[in-house]
């Protein structure tokens, strides 16, 4: 018997008490279906005063409803010696002998089950708006855990002014490209939650699972240590699994990101061994968070037939003005910029400009005729890229390193990027309205699917041959920190938005259950 229970329930726990209790829960406390709701509304009134409200309780021994506020149920309990009653609003069980609500383990178990059933039923019947699904239950410690916690009163509580979760990384010799990506990944909220809740079950035999190392990395970051972490094991593993990155020389952070995600994805795939029969639909955490779908539509100029392909992507590489490929002019109109609250000042390129250019219809030219399956001839065509499915974390890569035949240089054009980004104008679904001339998208305040918030910015200082990477990361909603290898300092939002920007990480604002 738990300390929260009471001895008086034993009198109740006889015969078929469980079933009786279930019935009470189903009918009068948590109504799953419309009929039970009706029945509850009609029949649950105080047998003494007829009131509906006032904290109605039902006696557990007989069919008797009475209100608590006016003590009618107390009278019933005294006269009939029925010591237990249940609150019809929240399902709590009141013991008149103890004169308090009691929490009996078995009874609570039944209550929880019935509640879950009722919620599921509601979800089925309710309209799309009210998609409840499953009630969120907070964590409760077990008896043993309570004991441990009581014996160890020192706590580390992560508040908004707390350093836990932030840690420097030692540069192992030109490894700032790795450090900056690690900082960005460890501050990706979903990834952090996945690893801190220990969701990775390693099935790799050897010691070389990168996901395990990642998990270890999170432990290091949340350990509360102040000295910077030395990611030598991570470096070793990355070099072992991604040979093209190995070697003591400066590498590109974007390349490292893709390679790291690839290795993590491969190692995670081992987890879902059963689902591996369809390699395109891996359900690992990397795919869930980072993989999006890029739709490529090729429209034949002759028959206007469209052939569509959808390719998965982990990042979006955007061309910048100042590169040898022409940036302007784009398709006319101001879609995107007005939506994202930016003024289209001449000269300052915005991220949305780059995105617009990325998703513009491109005439492929006469040298690149393709065979149209509609009219069975080689025709000129236009190609357009749009987002079919956006990942939870969208990474934008600004192509600052130009490697054309003639020049190799870094493009340092300033590109402004917003804190909040709405990707609706660049989605495949918005494509039709764009093509029809409706450039101004009406903002749908209830459609939260495409709203993103910035949470990490990777910057590069220096030249093409050599330079240094730093990262700005966001913690606790509005605090930004600059991570420069082993040195973490506080930064202002202005610092972040004024920085050059090389890799931009955006996180979906609203996550829906599937």
């Amino acid at each position: 018997m738990s300390p929260a229970g009471c001895p008086h329930v034993n009198g109740f726990k006889v015969d078929n008490w469980k079933q009786n209790l279930r019935v009470i829960y189903q009918c009068f406390v948590w109504s799953g279906s419309a009929e039970t709701r009706k029945r509850k509304a009609k029949s649950c009134i105080c047998h003494m005063c007829g009131a509906h409200l006032n904290r109605l309780h039902s006696c557990l021994y007989c069919v008797f409803f009475a209100c608590f506020a006016k003590k009618h149920i107390h009278e019933h309990a005294k006269s009939k010696r029925h010591n237990l009653a249940i609150d019809l609003l929240y399902g709590g069980i009141y013991c008149f002998m103890c004169q308090d609500y009691i929490y009996d383990k078995e009874m609570e178990q039944i209550a929880k089950e019935e509640q879950r059933k009722a919620w599921k039923m509601q979800a089925h019947q309710a309209m799309a708006l009210l998609c409840i699904g499953e009630k969120y239950s907070t964590w409760e410690p077990t008896k043993r855990e309570l004991e441990l916690l009581r014996h160890n009163p020192k706590r580390r509580r992560i508040t908004s002014n707390c350093t836990i979760g932030l840690r420097g990384l030692i540069n192992l010799g030109n490894t700032c490209f790795m450090n900056c990506i690690v900082q960005a990944l460890t501050h990706t909220p979903l990834l952090r939650d996945f690893f801190l809740s220990d969701r990775h079950k390693c099935e790799m035999q050897s010691n070389s699972c990168l996901v395990c190392e990642m998990s270890q990395l999170f432990q290091e970051f949340y350990s509360g240590h102040r000295s910077p972490h030395i990611p030598f094991r991570l470096l070793h593993l990355v070099w072992t699994h991604a040979r093209h990155l190995a070697g003591y020389e400066q590498q590109d952070a974007h390349e490292f990101l893709i390679a790291a995600l690839d290795v993590l994805h491969r190692h995670c795939k081992d987890d879902n061994g059963k689902k591996a029969n369809n390699p395109n639909h891996c359900n690992c955490i990397i795919d869930q968070i980072f993989t999006g779908g890029l739709q490529s539509d090729v429209t034949c100029q002759a028959c206007h037939g469209v052939s569509t392909t959808i390719d998965p992507f982990w990042d979006i590489s955007l061309d910048l003005p100042g590169s040898s490929t022409p940036f302007w002019p784009l398709s006319p109109g101001g879609d995107g910029s007005a939506l994202n609250g930016e003024s289209h000042t001449t000269g300052a390129t915005a991220l949305t400009d780059c995105l617009r250019r990325f998703t513009r219809p491109e005439h492929l030219g006469s040298s690149a005729k393709i065979k149209c399956s509609g009219c069975h001839s080689y025709q000129e065509s236009t190609k357009q890229l749009t987002m079919k499915k956006l990942p939870i974390v969208a990474c934008f890569h600004l192509k600052r390193f130009e490697h054309s035949a003639k020049l190799r240089r870094k493009i340092t054009t300033y590109v402004s990027f917003p804190l909040e980004l709405d990707m609706t104008p660049f989605m495949a679904s918005s494509k039709e309205s764009r093509m029809n001339g409706q450039y101004q998208q009406t903002v749908d305040p209830f459609n939260n699917d495409n709203k993103y918030s910035l949470f990490a910015v990777v910057n590069h200082q220096g030249t093409l041959e050599s330079g240094h990477y730093t990262t700005f990361i966001r913690q606790h909603k509005d605090q930004w920190f600059k991570c420069d290898d082993a040195i973490i300092t506080k930064a202002s939002i202005k610092d972040v938005l004024d920085s050059e920007g090389y890799l931009l990480f955006y996180h979906k604002q609203f996550l829906e259950y599937e």
Binding site: K154, G173, T175
Partner: protein, 366 residues
Amino acid sequence: MKMEDMPLSGPDNTRLEALAHDIYSELVEDACLGLCFEVHRAVKQGYFFLDETDQESMKEFEIVDQPGVDIFGQVYNQWKNKECECPNCKRLIAASRFAPHLEKCLGMGRNSSRIANRRLASSNNMSKSESDQEDNDDLNDNDWSYGAEKKTKKRKSDKSQNSPRRSKSLKHKNGELGSGVGAESYKYNYNTGISYETLGPDEVRSLLTTYCVFLQQCGVISEHTKKMCTRSQRCPQHTDEQRRAVRLFLLGPSAPTLPDADAVETDSFDIPDPQPLMSRLQWEDSDISPTDSASSKASTNHSDSRKPKKKKKPSLPLNSGGGGSGSGSLAGGGGSSSQSNISISTKKKRPKLSAPPISSIYDDLA
């Protein structure tokens, strides 16, 4: 109040308002009740206190926002002495030099092909495992012992018989090497053959000394000083017989004949089999030269120039001015030449130097 008592269809707004207000207040009360139950349950189950933290812990993890210190309140740049254990070779490496070390350790760096070829070249002599090779490769690794340690090692190599690297290599050799790593160039113990990897810089210097000897100097070993005579080939103190004997002793029957007194130029010598020798010599270059690590960072053609079979004549240590090729010459280690009795600064020497192959010595004496 009973719901039935309220006239619903009353046109009076106040009644509707009152009704609405009732519903509203009931909802609020229910919500508050819910919260009360939660708290009540938490207290009764005993986990209500979990939220509390002690002031000390809160203070400990507070973010610091001051110039000159990071968020933990620490000064910048104090993390120079961090070390970590290499997962490959299990040695403690300075953290900031870990990447270059790992590159060599895993064999994926620019110089690794050279190192690998060296291994292959000397695998004739070696009956050791790979791990030793790697071990010894790192002996040549100038990364984590850049500069200072190397220099001291040169000077103290005679005395520091218990330096970690030396003792390691000695232990691994199953006592093959034994003693005899002194400055005396002619006192080697050749059991099953010696490999260059096991020689410290001092030994190698001695070996090179030997070659210098054959090319231009008398070389006869004096009874008193036990050192080789550094006079020219026409030294009056010693006879040709003695000189021949020394050469025979050290290099075996294929030792070259003594040149004519006039022919100081040595391109008359032919090397019977130059390849193993050259590769060994190349290796020796790099062992001694500390410019290796510097050039490996700066130069991009390092790996190109390090082909084992290439006849790197300019790089022979006899040319002390040959440092430019990046292969390292003895000039780099100024201290070395001072220790040997032979002046190595013979810039007159033609690049096309030849010397007898080493392999013959060891074969004979094996």
